[in-house]
Chain length 399, copies 2
Amino acid sequence: MVKVNEKRFINSLNKLREFGAAGIGKGVIRPAFSASDIEARNWIAKLMREADLSPVFDPVGNLFGLNGSKSILLGSHSDSQPEGGWLDGSLGVMAALEIALSVKENGGPPVSVVNFQDEEGRFGVTTGSAIWGQNVSLKDADKYTDITGITLAEARKAMGSNFSDFISPDIFTGFIEMHIEQGPRLFQSEKKIGVVNSIVGIRNLKVTFKGEQNHAGTTPMQARKDALQSFSLFNETLNSRLRNVVTPQTVWTIGEVSLQPNASSIVPGVVNFSLQWRDPELTRLSKMETIIKDTISEISAKTGIEPHTSQVLGLDPVEMDRELIKALENSAEEIVPGEWINMNSGALHDATNVSNLIPTAMLFVPSIDGISHAFGENTSDDDLIFGLRVLARSIINCT
Amino acid sequence: MVKVNEKRFINSLNKLREFGAAGIGKGVIRPAFSASDIEARNWIAKLMREADLSPVFDPVGNLFGLNGSKSILLGSHSDSQPEGGWLDGSLGVMAALEIALSVKENGGPPVSVVNFQDEEGRFGVTTGSAIWGQNVSLKDADKYTDITGITLAEARKAMGSNFSDFISPDIFTGFIEMHIEQGPRLFQSEKKIGVVNSIVGIRNLKVTFKGEQNHAGTTPMQARKDALQSFSLFNETLNSRLRNVVTPQTVWTIGEVSLQPNASSIVPGVVNFSLQWRDPELTRLSKMETIIKDTISEISAKTGIEPHTSQVLGLDPVEMDRELIKALENSAEEIVPGEWINMNSGALHDATNVSNLIPTAMLFVPSIDGISHAFGENTSDDDLIFGLRVLARSIINCT
């Protein structure tokens, strides 16, 4: 096992939080390409040099600390949500840096470090790693805009001209990303470590139900084509059908709903809504899609409304690398015997994109009360250190 | 029966449409106190003089054409919705004017005419008649604002200083308002006339369901407090319960729904919605209120969300005057034997307010396809004329 300096690790993690520190608890505001994000990345580049790594920014702002020889890649991202927590992404970067520094001081296998840019999707979805992982081209991504209309191409200028070409993935043997779980499972089951089997796939659909806008006083119930009532019946019918095909790891969400004209005295003529579903298995994602589409057709016909559905967009589930999983399982069993579990990731991560290029794995530490993407996000120091130890042990196991 | 000039009536009605004519079909844009509204009222005042009536504007802009002796009052309103039809209100005013003119020419009982202001509620609800009917004071109503922030007090200045005091209701024996149905019942059943028994009561409630905003990927289904899912379950449960207590004349509507944060990847934390229900019977309105409140409590407890409900606001149902109803029924049976029905009004009308002061009744003519509050609103000339004849006959029957 690489001997790590746990106190230094916790200190560095708290130091990183000072870039963009905000809000209650340990909140940070450090969106991609903001001043605090660029400052944090420059500070991390300095730490990389202290660990005898060569810091290199690629064109999209992904920061690599290169060991110089073929090495395992560790890391995550240091950008945050518009209102984010101090650990989301930062944890994986600072754990990787601590391990690289410890390898320099105490010996160990060669380690490189990565700090991806815009994982939180100011411009796209896991933007920096998606470009590196060839899920999208830089040319296409440069046209993405944030909610204020700024393009990625414009935002990248905040980095200055201090960047090199894209890094070849061939110099890495694999990638391990340590992250907070962002959900309640480890915390509620009082486990210390989650070894990720797969990152769920996700599918998104936008649906419009077009009924008939009418006077809410003079239109009898049986004469209505109330788009909201159709939507509600669709939702209940879908819930009862999906319950027969899902596992406890499946989730589905209607997060967005808007009505037209949205007035208390008018029978809703139109309802627009989003439907998102996630599952670790591709076949189940597809089966759910069939059920969703069938239910839309059926309820539309039954209630006399006209449905419109968007193209289904999404990312397929990604299996983590079996050998790296085994290395993490062995490490977890050594460090926290009986207190770790295998699980799937319900959230997307940079690891999804990196798995396109090289063997990839992830480990999770608990999120207190499952809170994430909020100032209140936190993990106990003990659990952070367990995560660091498991990661430090795993790179011995897998090399 | 007062002998009326049907061709002149149809011509006058079309002439009125020229004030604010807009849109497809026979649409008009003539909201209260707009230039086209004031011009239309001045033109109607001129017609009143031609019928030997004395035109008088009261302080809120209600225009009375006074016969001088104790008389039956006929009329409605000539203001329109922001995008309205040519008959809503106008029909009752122009029918009243035609009858008054016919009485002058051919003899008949004394008739006065009224053209209420802002029935369509640019500022309140049936504003002009509500003030005259003492459901609200002019002082209070003057503070009402339209959606651009203009107060009624400011808008009234468009009338100039050409107005007198409020007219005493004691000079009228009763009020009959002829109106389009604004719903599909007469049209679908191919009847010519609806004699109104009562105008429904209405109750409005605003509800908030507060659940827990969460990550849509990492929050398992059983750990969610999804405010939208609670809302949907509430809606379905309420529907099944209300079906046991309502009549075909009862309506209930959820017309307004908004989610927070309303994002496709976030479990909805809050849903705000409106709930409106209407029924001709006070006891049923109250019974529905109890069911609604009980269902909110029950679904909240079951799904772990926190409900907040506003004060319930509304207007009680109003019975039309038995003697005037009888007069209308007899007229309808003479003019269109077997082709009329008794019905309730699901929409509010000026008659609701006037019934506070004097015996009041209403008759409806069919709306093609039930369309109203839209440019496409229309009624066949034949049906308009049947309505005119029934009204003209009824004032003989009731005097």
